[in-house]
């Protein structure tokens, strides 16, 4: 069943603020095995012109996705969350995320398209700091796969995206 096109352009109010912690950045950097000093050492970050340690580029996804998820789970939209996979991810950085940032995200449904029975949902997240200045624009494209006739044949593709 096609999703309701009237949801295109709908904006979901800003999230609860997310405070970016220095130790959370370090934990994330260690999890991806990245020893860049700009993620750990405030002096090294300052030498590059940043006011404090910065976060790896994809760190902000953890913040923005919480919001995108609440859009996807909006019962009025009627998406079957169990069939949703991640298809595309894009970031446009106004500046790097850094320790001490208090971020909030406003999510908008940019488009809903049907492709061979799959629903493709493009969600834009505008991440801003406590002063209301833009930090990152995040585009997340999710696909809800068509319900297949019988079996779990599509499940392999299901996880292709993720």
């Amino acid at each position: 069943m096609a999703l309701d096109q009237s949801f295109v352009g709908r904006t979901y109010p800003p999230s609860r603020p997310y405070e970016v912690g220095r130790e959370k950045i370090r934990e994330f950097a260690e999890a991806i095995g990245d020893d860049n000093p700009a993620y750990r050492d405030a002096e090294a970050a300052k030498a590059l012109g940043h006011p404090d340690v910065i976060a790896p580029p994809t760190f902000v996804f953890s913040v923005s996705y919480q919001e995108a998820e609440s859009v996807v789970r909006d019962p009025k939209l009627g998406l079957d969350y169990a069939r949703v996979v991640h298809r595309d991810q894009q970031f446009a950085y106004h500046r790097p995320v850094r320790a001490g940032d208090v971020l909030s995200v406003t999510s908008t449904i940019e488009s809903i398209k049907s492709l061979a029975g799959n629903e493709v949902l493009d969600i834009r997240g505008e991440v801003q700091d406590a002063e209301g200045q833009p930090v990152v624009t995040v585009h997340t494209k999710l696909v809800a796969r068509a319900v297949e006739a019988g079996g779990t044949g599509g499940a392999g593709e299901a996880a292709e995206g993720e």
Binding site: K24, E27, F28, E30, A31, I32, G33, D34, N36, A38, Y39, A47, L48, G49, H50, I54, P56, P57, T58, F61, S62, Y65, Q66, V85, H86, R87, D88, Q89, Q90, F91, A92, Y93, R95, P96, H139, T152, G153, G154, A155, G156, A158, A159, E160, G161, E162
Partner: protein, 144 residues
């Protein structure tokens, strides 16, 4: 921003250093904790197979994070990365065999975009076990 690579020193076709990133189950558990993505397809073999996967697979965002390191290590300053986007095309399958999987990342300067802003487009080729795992993978980077 203080990228260590000078705009004048690169041209279209300049290759970035080829990199490989190993990934095993312990790495995925650690990434799950740090990112907050606890989907069991990334750590529970029984669950992964129940939903039709060959085995546990890596988080797409983990692969995207590793691929970015080719650029951030090249420029030195991660803040030089202005835009970054990928499509998730195939999963990185991570067996529990003591070895896991390897993500291979090749990258090259595809275009010099703006002589004033000193920005370039970098295209990435990201594979694992011979399959392309990220598609349309590209970045815009500000050089020194």
């Amino acid at each position: 921003m203080t990228a260590q690579i000078a705009y004048a020193d690169v041209e279209e076709g300049t290759q970035l250093p080829l990199r490989t990133f190993p990934v095993d189950r312990a790495r995925l558990v650690r990434y799950a904790g740090a990112s907050g993505d606890f989907n069991p397809i990334h750590w529970n073999e029984r669950f992964a197979k129940e939903v039709g996967l060959p085995d546990v697979i890596a988080h797409g965002m983990f692969t995207m994070a590793e691929a970015a390191r080719v650029i951030t290590d090249w420029t030195g300053d991660p803040g030089a990365l202005l835009e970054y986007g990928v499509r998730f095309t195939k999963p990185v399958v991570v067996p529990d065999d003591g070895k896991g999987a390897v993500i291979e990342v090749a990258a090259k300067v595809a275009k010099k975009l703006d002589d004033q802003a000193r920005t370039v487009q970098v295209d990435l080729t990201v594979t694992s076990a011979g399959s392309k795992v990220l598609g349309m993978s590209r970045a815009v980077v500000a050089l020194g």
